[in-house]
C-alpha cells in the first residue's frame, strides 16, 4: 500500500518534471576555428562552448535547454554560405552566431535574411549593418570608434604626419578605409600608406620606408603576428616615435610576443583586457571579470576581445529569449528593443536603425607597461 502511494507520488513528480522541460533552443554558430582567421575564431568557439554549458547548468534560457551547433568555416566564404544554408534549412536553428570575419558575414547576410533567421555577427565591417537588414546584427564595435579615439589622441599630442601600415585581411582593409576617411578631419596626413601580406615575416623594408618619410608616429592595423613584428622592427631601427595599434592588439599574447618592444604602444580596446584595473563602480566590471575568470580557468589562456564577442552575441540572444520567448520574430524585435545591455565589448543599446548598439565609449585607450595592459592616462 505504501509502495503504491510512493509510486504514485513519484510518478506525478516525474510527470510534472517532464511537463516543465521545454523544447531545446538550437543555436547555430559559423566560426573560423581553423584557417587564417583562427586567431579570432578559436577563442570564439571556446567561449561559445563555455557559455552554453554555463547557461544549461542554470537550467537553460527561460527554461529551454540550449543546443549549440558549431560549423568550422575555416574563414572560407563558400563554406560559410553552405553551412549557413545548412543551419537554416536543415538544422532549423533558432538563430546564428557569427560568422567570424566580415567577408564571410557579407556573403551570408542575404542568406540569413532570406531565411528570416536572426544572425549576430562577430565581425566588425560597417557594411554588415549598413544598410540594415532586419535579421542581421553585429556585436563588434565599429572600426571608426577605434580610429577616432586614436586620432583624437594624436591630435592632442600634436602629431600631424603619420605612417600607416595595414594587413591585407578584411580587418586591415576596414581599418584602412576608416583611417583614410577620418584623417583629414583631425588634421592628420598619412604620408606613407602601405598594405602588407598577412603572412609577412619581416617588415624591415616597410619600416625603413616610414623612417625615410620622417613620420611622427606609426599606426599599424592588423590582427596577425605582424602586429608584434612591426613594433620590433620599429624599435630595432631606432625609429623613436610613438607607435599606435588597432584594437586587434588587445590580446596580451602579442604584447608578450613583442617583449621589450611593446612598451609604450598605444591602442584602443574594450575593457575586457583590463578587467582587474577597472574600478568597482564601472558598470562592466562584474561581467568582464566573471567572463575572464571563467575562461582563463577553463582554457588556461588569456582572454581576448574576440572571445568576448562570442559571449556578447550568445548572451544578447539569451536576454532576448528571456524577454520575448522562443519565437524568432519576437526575439528579433526584442534585440532591437534592448537598451543598456552590459556586455564585454561595451554597453549595448540597439534600435531598428542601429543594429550594432555600441558607441565610442565602449573603447578605452590603453598602453603597455612592464608587459601588462594598463589604461593610458590623460
Amino acid at each position: 500500500m505504501r509502495a503504491t502511494r510512493f509510486g504514485a507520488v513519484a510518478g506525478m513528480l516525474a510527470a510534472a518534471f517532464a511537463a516543465t522541460a521545454k523544447e531545446p533552443i538550437r543555436i547555430g554558430a559559423l566560426v573560423a576555428v581553423t584557417g587564417p582567421a583562427a586567431y579570432l575564431g578559436a577563442p570564439e568557439a571556446r567561449t561559445l562552448e563555455m557559455v552554453v554549458q554555463e547557461l544549461n547548468a542554470k537550467g537553460g534560457v527561460a527554461g529551454h535547454p540550449v543546443e549549440l551547433v558549431v560549423k568550422d568555416t575555416g574563414g572560407n566564404s563558400d563554406k560559410a554560405v553552405s553551412f549557413a544554408r545548412q543551419l537554416i534549412e536543415e538544422e532549423k536553428v533558432f538563430a546564428i552566431v557569427g560568422p567570424t570575419t566580415s567577408g564571410e558575414t557579407l556573403q551570408v547576410k542575404a542568406v540569413a535574411e532570406e531565411g528570416r533567421t536572426p544572425l549576430l555577427s562577430m565581425a566588425a565591417a560597417e557594411a554588415i549593418v549598413n544598410p540594415v537588414a532586419p535579421h542581421v546584427f553585429k556585436v563588434a564595435p565599429k572600426d571608426s570608434f577605434a580610429v577616432e579615439m586614436i586620432f583624437g589622441r594624436m591630435k592632442k599630442m600634436g602629431i600631424t604626419r603619420i605612417g600607416f601600415l595595414s594587413s591585407n585581411t578584411g580587418f586591415g582593409k576596414a581599418g584602412k578605409e576608416q583611417v583614410e576617411k577620418l584623417a583629414p578631419a583631425y588634421g592628420i596626413q598619412v604620408v606613407v600608406n602601405e598594405v602588407y601580406d598577412k603572412a609577412a615575416t619581416d617588415l624591415t623594408a616597410e619600416v625603413t620606408k616610414l623612417k625615410a618619410a620622417g613620420v611622427q608616429a606609426v599606426l599599424n592595423w592588423s590582427i596577425e603576428p605582424a602586429q608584434a613584428i612591426v613594433i620590433k622592427n620599429v624599435r630595432q631601427m631606432g625609429l623613436a616615435v610613438p607607435v599606435f595599434q588597432s584594437h586587434g592588439f588587445a590580446n596580451v599574447q602579442y604584447a608578450r610576443a613583442a617583449g621589450a618592444a611593446a612598451e609604450g604602444v598605444i591602442f584602443p580596446a574594450s575593457r575586457i583586457v583590463v578587467a582587474e584595473a577597472l574600478p568597482a563602480s564601472h558598470p562592466q566590471k562584474g561581467v568582464v571579470e566573471a567572463y575572464k575568470k571563467a575562461y582563463e580557468a577553463r582554457y588556461h589562456e588569456d582572454v581576448s576581445t574576440f572571445g568576448g564577442h562570442a559571449w556578447d552575441s550568445l548572451m544578447i540572444l539569451a536576454r532576448a529569449v528571456e524577454q520575448a520567448g522562443a519565437d524568432r520574430e519576437k526575439a528579433r524585435s526584442a534585440i532591437e528593443g534592448l537598451k543598456g545591455f552590459v556586455g564585454t565589448a561595451g554597453i549595448f543599446s540597439f534600435s531598428a536603425a542601429d543594429h550594432n548598439g555600441l558607441d565610442p565609449s565602449c573603447f578605452e585607450l590603453l598602453t603597455v607597461k612592464d608587459g601588462r595592459f594598463v589604461p593610458l592616462g590623460p
Partner: protein, 358 residues
C-alpha cells in the same frame, strides 16, 4: 558489349533523378543545395581530369581560372550603372536589354549588367589568360609545369586579395541570380532549389557527353598518345603543342564557367576560392577518381565535395584532403574508383599507354 556513351549518360541521368526524388521524398530537400554546389565544382574538376588524365599535364592553377570566372561575373553584375544612365554606352546597353534595373536586397533599385554579358566576358577572359599562360608554359614538363601553374594560381589569389576593386579580403557579395531563361535562374533561393539542382547536374551531364565524345575521337586518341609517349606521337605527325594548348584552354574554360555559375548560386565569391588549397583539392579529387576515368572523377567529386560542404570532416577538412592525396597516390595510383567502375560501365577510356611518365 560496349555500353554506348549515350546509355552511360542516360544511366547517370537516372541516378540524378533518383537522388532528387529520394531527397525530396525523405524531407531532406536541403541536401540538394549542397549537391548543386558539388555539381558546379565537378565541372571544374572534369576539365582538370581531361587535362591531367588524358593530356597528362598537371595543373595546380585550376582554382585560378575558377576565380577569374567568378570574380569577373561578380564584378560586372554588381556594378551599379544608375549614376551613369545618361552615358551613351550605358543607354545602348539598356536598349539592348543588356543592362536592366533590378531591386537590391534593401529595397533600392540598381541598374545592373546582364549576367549573360558578364558570363561571356568571364569566359573570354578565362580563355585569353589560358592561351597567354599556356603557350609559354606548356613547353615545360613535370615539376616545372607544376610550379608554373602553382605560381599562376598564387598570382590570381594575390591579386584577388590585394585589389580594392575586387573587394580585397572580403570578396564580392550581393551577386544577383543568373536568369538563364525567364523562369529559370541560377540562384540560391530555396524556391529555386529543385530546378537549380537539375540545371547544375544537367550541365554536368552535357559536359560529360562532350568530353566523352572528345576522348573517343581522333583528338582523344592523339591526346592519349601524347600522354603516353610525346616524342613518338610527334613523330607520327600529332601536333602535340597545339593539342596540349587546346586541352589546357578547355580545362580553363570549364573552370571559368564553373566559377561564374557557382558565384551566382552563392550570391558572392571570396579570395579563398582562388587559393592554392582549392587547386590541391581539385587535384586530389582527380587522383581519387582515377586520372584516366571521367566517371570515376565525377563520382569522387560528387561525394567528396558534398561531404566537405556539409562539414562532415569538421575542422579536419584540409587534413582529410591531404591524407586522401597521399593515400591514393601511394596505394591507388590509378584511382580508387577506376577499377570498379570499369567493370561496371565497361570500357570508357582508351587504354593508357604503358609507363607513367609525364
Amino acid at each position: 558489349m560496349r555500353t554506348s556513351r549515350a546509355a552511360q549518360v542516360a544511366a547517370f541521368g537516372a541516378v540524378v533523378v533518383a537522388a532528387q526524388l529520394a531527397a525530396s521524398g525523405a524531407g531532406k530537400a536541403f541536401f540538394l543545395t549542397q549537391l548543386t554546389m558539388s555539381a558546379y565544382y565537378t565541372l571544374a574538376v572534369l576539365g582538370l581530369s581531361l587535362l591531367m588524365g588524358y593530356a597528362g599535364q598537371i595543373s595546380l592553377g585550376q582554382a585560378g581560372f575558377f576565380a577569374i570566372g567568378g570574380y569577373t561575373s561578380a564584378l560586372l553584375t554588381t556594378l551599379d550603372l544608375s549614376s551613369r544612365r545618361g552615358h551613351p554606352a550605358v543607354a545602348a546597353l539598356v536598349r539592348l536589354h543588356l543592362a536592366t534595373p533590378r531591386p537590391d536586397l534593401f529595397g533600392g533599385q540598381v541598374l545592373g549588367l546582364s549576367p549573360w554579358l558578364a558570363c561571356l566576358a568571364a569566359v573570354v577572359l578565362g580563355a585569353a589568360v589560358a592561351v597567354a599562360l599556356g603557350v609559354p608554359v606548356l613547353r615545360l614538363r613535370g615539376h616545372y609545369l607544376a610550379m608554373a601553374t602553382l605560381a599562376f594560381g598564387t598570382i590570381v589569389s594575390s591579386i584577388a586579395v590585394g585589389t580594392q576593386a575586387l573587394g580585397a579580403a572580403d570578396g564580392i557579395s550581393g551577386v544577383p541570380p543568373f536568369e538563364l531563361v525567364p523562369g529559370l535562374r541560377v540562384g540560391g533561393g530555396s524556391a529555386d532549389r529543385v530546378p537549380n539542382y537539375y540545371l547544375a547536374w544537367g550541365l554536368v551531364a552535357l559536359a560529360m557527353l562532350l568530353l566523352l565524345n572528345l576522348i573517343h575521337s581522333r583528338t582523344g586518341r592523339a591526346l592519349a598518345a601524347i600522354h603516353g609517349a610525346e616524342d613518338a606521337a610527334r613523330a607520327m605527325g600529332v601536333d602535340a603543342g597545339a593539342l596540349k594548348l587546346r586541352t589546357f584552354v578547355l580545362a580553363a574554360v570549364t573552370a571559368t564557367v564553373s566559377g561564374v555559375l557557382l558565384t551566382h548560386y552563392n550570391g558572392g565569391i571570396g579570395p579563398s576560392e582562388a587559393g592554392v588549397m582549392k587547386s590541391v583539392r581539385y587535384v586530389a579529387i582527380v587522383a581519387v577518381g582515377g586520372m584516366g576515368s571521367l566517371w570515376g572523377t565525377l563520382t569522387a567529386s560528387a561525394v567528396l565535395n558534398f561531404l566537405s560542404l556539409r562539414g562532415y570532416f569538421g575542422a579536419y577538412d584540409d587534413a582529410v584532403f591531404g591524407g586522401i592525396l597521399v593515400a591514393v597516390m601511394l596505394f591507388f595510383p590509378d584511382g580508387i574508383l577506376a577499377a570498379d567502375l570499369r567493370a561496371l560501365l565497361s570500357r570508357v577510356a582508351p587504354r593508357r599507354a604503358p609507363g607513367e611518365e609525364t
